[in-house]
């Protein structure tokens, strides 16, 4: 998604998740090099985010005036930028920025979405209607523009990006959880628990919540990809971490001016974004296929 970015998951699947023509049983026995590659890439990404020095010992901000704009090759595998900074080092250090923003924004959207979705699904009809219309109204704003509106108010920066993307993606999760809550609420086991006189908090925590959150982890993994994509887009527009921070979107924006002489400054960080989103989607789809059926 551009920024692509995403439509509400309930009515408009951002990606068609599982290929129904492939039987699930065969899927498990077949070796899947793509899935393995995605998993390895994501593990590397987490390592890069937590301990970047383990992968690249250099300093992402260290300029080398003698090696300005050198092309990819031994010594500088991803080349150097207009200040002679090593692009690979910056890409590795940038993983932390992207993952932090993506994970925090997704966590905000998921936690907020689950709480509001539960509330809408369990509360009185009038309140449900009000909440649902608010979700509808929020999803009417294109995600990128909603985020830009928030940034106009709060100013650019990492925290703004997190809240902006979190708010913009929250309604999707809320709608999914609300729908699921309505199904669970009408189910036999909830009815039985009510008959047995269980208290309301216990009812919600023991019976409703566990059966509602089933699809949430998979949605979160795929939502994480979207959040990272959106964060890169907003940073590219100059709304995220400011230079010289090695954020992927910001690197692309800086490198755009040197595109004619040094494509690697902007294209390689961009490919890091793509690889991240593809890997998250591949892993998310795999989980979806494996756990599909458990909550339906």
């Amino acid at each position: 998604m551009t920024v692509t970015v995403g439509p509400p998951l309930t009515e408009t699947p951002t990606r068609v998740l599982a290929d129904p023509s492939e039987p699930a049983v065969r899927r498990r026995s077949r070796p899947r090099p793509g899935l393995l590659a995605a998993e390895v890439y994501l593990i590397l990404l987490v390592v890069a985010a937590v301990w970047p020095a383990a992968l690249t010992p250099g300093d992402p901000l260290a300029a080398d005036p003698l090696a300005v704009l050198s092309p990819p090759g031994p010594g500088h595998w991803f080349g150097t930028d207009h200040l002679g900074r090593d692009v690979l080092t910056r890409v590795v250090h940038g993983a932390g920025h992207s993952l932090t923003i993506g994970v925090a924004a997704t966590a905000l959207a998921v936690v907020g979405g689950v709480l509001l979705g539960l509330l809408a699904g369990l509360t009185h009809r009038v309140a449900d209607e009000a909440l649902s219309r608010t979700f509808d109204a929020l999803s009417a704003f294109p995600m990128l523009l909603l985020a830009l509106l928030f940034i106009t108010i709060a100013g650019p920066g990492t925290a703004s990006l997190i809240v902006a993307i979190g708010i913009a993606t929250l309604p999707h999760h809320a709608r999914v959880v609300r729908g699921q809550t309505l199904v669970v609420r009408g189910s036999g086991y909830v009815e039985q628990a009510i008959t047995f006189g269980q208290s309301r908090p216990r009812l919600v925590l023991r019976h409703v919540l566990p059966n509602v959150v089933g699809p949430v982890p998979v949605l979160a993994v795929i939502g994480l990809g979207e959040a990272i994509l959106a964060a890169a887009g907003l940073s590219f527009l100059g709304m995220g971490p400011q230079p010289p921070s090695p954020e992927w979107g910001a690197m692309l924006s800086e490198g755009r001016n040197y595109l004619q002489v040094a494509w690697w400054i902007s294209i390689l960080p961009g490919l890091a974004v793509t690889a991240t989103v593809v890997s998250l989607t591949v892993v998310g789809r795999h989980w979806q296929a494996r756990f599909d059926g458990r909550w339906r």
Partner: protein, 311 residues
């Protein structure tokens, strides 16, 4: 029309209106939440004397109670008045109107190209005739959907403009300058739409009416296009509102990559300068168009599918 269908149409229209109202109210709340005093924002870098401040308060009606100002805002919004830009000191409707054409051209070109590509890909790869082609195209679609649009734009620029000099690098002059931005914006749309369409065609191919058509000796291509594709198009209409959002959000980024004038540039300038009325107008307008497009799609659904009128 029967009474239930009238009620169904009325309910869709009512829901659309309510969403519009909530969106407008959210925008108004955002204006209130903006940091700094409204008068300060309007004064900007201009002369700042108590007299000028008093004039501004009188001119904008800022001394009235918040509720009255809110109702007045809704009334003016309903009449198409989007307020005045703090930065440019001109009506926002004018500012947006001037820049609408280039963005609209870009969006229409991208949407047309994207839908066309998606249709071609979906029809070519649906069913189980060519499994290898299908695998290649699913992979490509995943890549397209997962790639930030600015990266697609920069890749196209660096190969087609800088290496081969086929297209201008930036600007808004002529058809040639439109090609790369439109392709950049169209590719992610095509990637996602193709997935949805193919899924729909695959489902339709399992239906009994396809078996009937095949049994009648209808050619496979005709079965695909005339019978299966038609069924697949219907659910794809739901994506119209989403498509619109992608186009607008994407336009902001694509215009930045290619240095094109348009609504995106207006929005970015306004965000950077904290020109709230302009940002709000763009956001509210886009929400309004989204709601209109979606409501229209819903109504079209009611028209086509009688089963929905009853629920």
């Amino acid at each position: 029309m029967s009474r239930p269908s009238v009620r169904a149409v009325a309910r869709r229209l009512g829901a659309g209106l309510v969403v519009l109202w909530v969106a407008a109210t959210a925008a108004y709340l955002a204006l209130l939440a903006a940091p700094g005093d409204t008068v300060d924002n309007i004064v900007g870098d201009g002369a700042d004397t108590p007299q000028i401040r008093a004039e501004i308060i009188a001119e904008w009606g800022l001394e009235r109670p918040a509720v009255v100002q809110y109702l007045d805002y809704l009334r003016r919004l309903g009449g198409g008045d989007l307020g005045r830009s703090y930065l440019l000191q001109r009506p926002v409707a004018e500012v947006i109107g001037e820049q609408l054409a280039p963005t609209l051209t870009l969006a229409v070109a991208a949407a047309g190209l994207g839908v066309l590509l998606a249709l071609l890909i979906a029809v070519a790869t649906a069913g189980d005739r060519r499994p290898w082609l299908r695998r290649v195209s699913s992979g490509t679609e995943l890549l397209l959907v997962s790639t930030p649009p600015f990266l697609i734009g920069l890749l196209l620029l660096s190969v087609l403009s800088f290496r081969f000099g086929l297209f201008p690098v930036s600007g808004d002059r002529g058809i040639a300058a439109l090609v790369l931005p439109a392709v950049t914006l169209a590719l992610p749309i095509a990637g996602l739409l193709a997935q949805v369409l193919r899924d729909g065609i695959d489902k339709a191919l399992d239906e009994p009416f396809v078996l009937t058509a095949r049994a009648r000796g209808v050619r496979e291509r005709t079965v695909l296009v005339r019978h299966a594709l038609r069924h697949a198009l219907l659910p794809a209409v739901t994506l119209a509102g989403w498509l619109f959002g992608i186009l607008l959000g994407g336009a902001v980024i694509v215009e930045q990559v290619f240095g094109r004038p348009g609504l995106g540039q207006v929005t970015l300038t306004a965000v950077t300068a904290r020109d709230m009325p302009v940002v709000l107008a763009v956001v509210t307008l886009s929400a309004a168009v989204y709601v209109v497009v979606n409501t229209a799609a819903d109504l079209a659904y009611l028209l086509v599918d009688p089963r929905l009128r009853r629920s």
